[in-house]
Amino acid sequence: MNLYEYQAKDLFKKYGIPVPEGKNYEDLSKIDWNKFPAVVKAQVLVGGRGKAGGIQFANSSKELMEKSSQVLGMTIKGLKVRSIYIEEKLEVGKEYYVSITLDRSARKPVIMATTEGGVEIEEVPDEKIKKFWVDPTVGYSNFIGRQMTFDLGLPDSEGKQFQDILAKMYKLYREYDAELVEINPLVITKDGKMVAGDAKVIIDSDSLFRHKDIPENAAERTELEEIAYKRGYSLVELDGNIGVIANGAGLTMATLDALTLHGGKPRNFLDLGGSDDVEKVVGAFELLKIAKPKGILVNIFGGVTHCDTVANGIVEAKKRVGIDVPIVVRLSGVNEDIGRQILKENGIEAYSDMMSAVEEIVKVVNKQ
């Protein structure tokens, strides 16, 4: 889960990582900032806010109000700016980059740092990026910061500040179950102070049960995704017209792929998961009703999820939810015969192989 810059900077403060003085505002009338020059930063969870006009500078209270009213409420990449973070403008001398994130292949946290900060890290040539893989069972130790200091060629005056910041970043990364802790730019001010210009923190959503102090940010989900999330479904909205219900993330993705390769356009990803519950199936149709697809493909390989349960769910949903678009069903695996029989009695023909079902739904929808 992405944190807003102001939340990330609050965490930085908690850990003693230097950040510019700043304050978050959700309401123009509450603005009581009086330190200039100042920066007004749109709090949105997408990149590229600078280019979109979401970062503005102000030298006076009057200008600050102008700029703040410009930024607060603007829309960046489809997301409305609901708060602005006002902070002191740093006198930037140099800009570095440092982050801690997971290296999936190594199964270890990797620390990355470069003196070429302020830009997208992808644009920095690999040999300029210094890396260190931390053994999570050993943890951070100060030699790591020393080593990076020398690898980066930092002067003495910066080395100590850098090592201090890195140790604190790792502590935050570990204690808050972060997926990413990133400072870009890591600013060295003209008077030699190292300060986190920006702050990006992503917390592992699966760990939120032990971080009650972190509020859940819904902003990354669309309205429908949020509804689905609250009801316990894994749903992702897409821009097509074929509703998809399947079981297992892999099979669901494979279904989307097959649809796409056949010229179909999926409206969504919806994984029933390892459930075996009629109501779970009905609830899936309720979500798809909101999504308004032109047809629905149900693709089930019965294991934990029994085919007859799914069949009963489909019948229930037709009755209760009122689905008026074509439904194509594929059932295979545990209790597929019973499931197919149930559907047949309710006027729905079910396929046993996935490809026929995929072909059929594409044909039906594209005919409309």
Binding site: R107, T137, D206, S207, G248, A249, G250, D257
Partner: protein, 288 residues
């Protein structure tokens, strides 16, 4: 032969009295697995499907298990896995989903240091038909044979194994890696086992977008694997930056896309199927 699990695998189920624990204990027993003990604090002295339940894993060790099936809620997985490591269990399978990845990272790195194997979390486990199964794969899709299967997915694995079996193939061992960003086993680990497994004559890989495990597998196959390999990769149609259920399926920075995986595998001489149903026919080609 087979890999990871066989007739000598003696399973203890941590969390045996829970819904998943109890259900899958029965399924494993039906499959022929040796489930020798279960653990649920406070339920010591009872039985689940004829399997003795103990209060602690230390107590259960008198039944001499060498593998554990962990099915406890996500916040308690780290503790259960440490209990397994402390007690010297060799194979640790974690069914639970939504385990904080830093917990998994700790478990996996610790286990490696101790020479132990972690499978999962959030995967269907390992099946060597019909020697032993640890996990939740449906019993009825298997036939013993010479195809080794490695997959990051659950249901999709069953789909493909089912198609293999229907097409007349049989499986040596089927390994479900799990769908999380950090898992105990990855493709290369399992490939290196299949490489030396005399029963395995061909390998099927089921990958997905996210991470670079398939690219690393391709590298490894090019250098080390002389047995035919067929692959299927999901997520071609996934839009950039969207999560598709598995935390693993985030596409970032142009790496880990379906295209890059397919390209790497094809360059390593792997036949890559466009659809799951094509896997058996591609396998027939390479077996010619």
């Amino acid at each position: 032969m087979s890999i990871y699990v066989d007739e000598n695998t003696r399973i203890v189920v941590q969390g045996i009295t829970g819904h998943q624990g109890s259900f899958n204990t029965l399924q494993m027993l039906k499959f022929g697995s040796k489930v020798v003990a279960g653990v649920t604090p406070g339920k010591g002295g009872t039985e689940v499907h004829g399997v003795k339940v103990f209060n602690t894993l230390a107590d259960a060790m008198k039944m001499e298990p060498n593998a554990t099936f962990i099915s406890v809620p996500a916040p308690y997985v780290l503790d259960a896995a440490k209990e397994a490591i402390y007690n010297g269990i060799d194979l640790i399978y974690i069914l639970t989903e939504k385990v904080p990845y830093q917990d998994t990272m700790e478990i996996v790195n610790l286990a490696r240091k101790m020479g132990k194997t972690v499978v999962g979390p959030n995967g269907p486990g390992i099946t060597s038909p019909f020697k032993s199964k640890i996990g939740i794969m449906p019993n009825q899709i298997f036939r013993e044979g010479n195809v080794g299967v490695i997959s990051r997915s659950g249901t999709l694995t069953y789909e493909i194994v089912d198609q293999l079996t229907r097409a007349g193939f049989g499986e040596s061992t089927v390994v479900g890696l799990g769908g999380d960003p950090v898992t105990g086993l990855n493709f290369v680990d399992v490939l290196s086992k299949f490489k030396d497994d005399s029963q395995t004559e061909a390998i099927v890989m089921v990958g997905e977008i996210g991470g670079t495990a398939e690219e690393e597998a391709a590298e490894y196959i090019k250098k080390n694997i002389r047995k035919p390999v067929v692959a299927y990769i999901t997520g071609r149609s996934a839009p950039k930056g969207k999560r598709m259920g598995h935390a693993g399926a985030i596409i970032t920075r142009g790496k880990g896309t379906a295209e890059s995986k397919i390209k790497a595998l094809e360059e390593a001489g792997v036949k890559v199927a466009d659809y799951p149903y094509q896997v058996p026919s591609l396998l027939k080609e390479v077996f010619k």
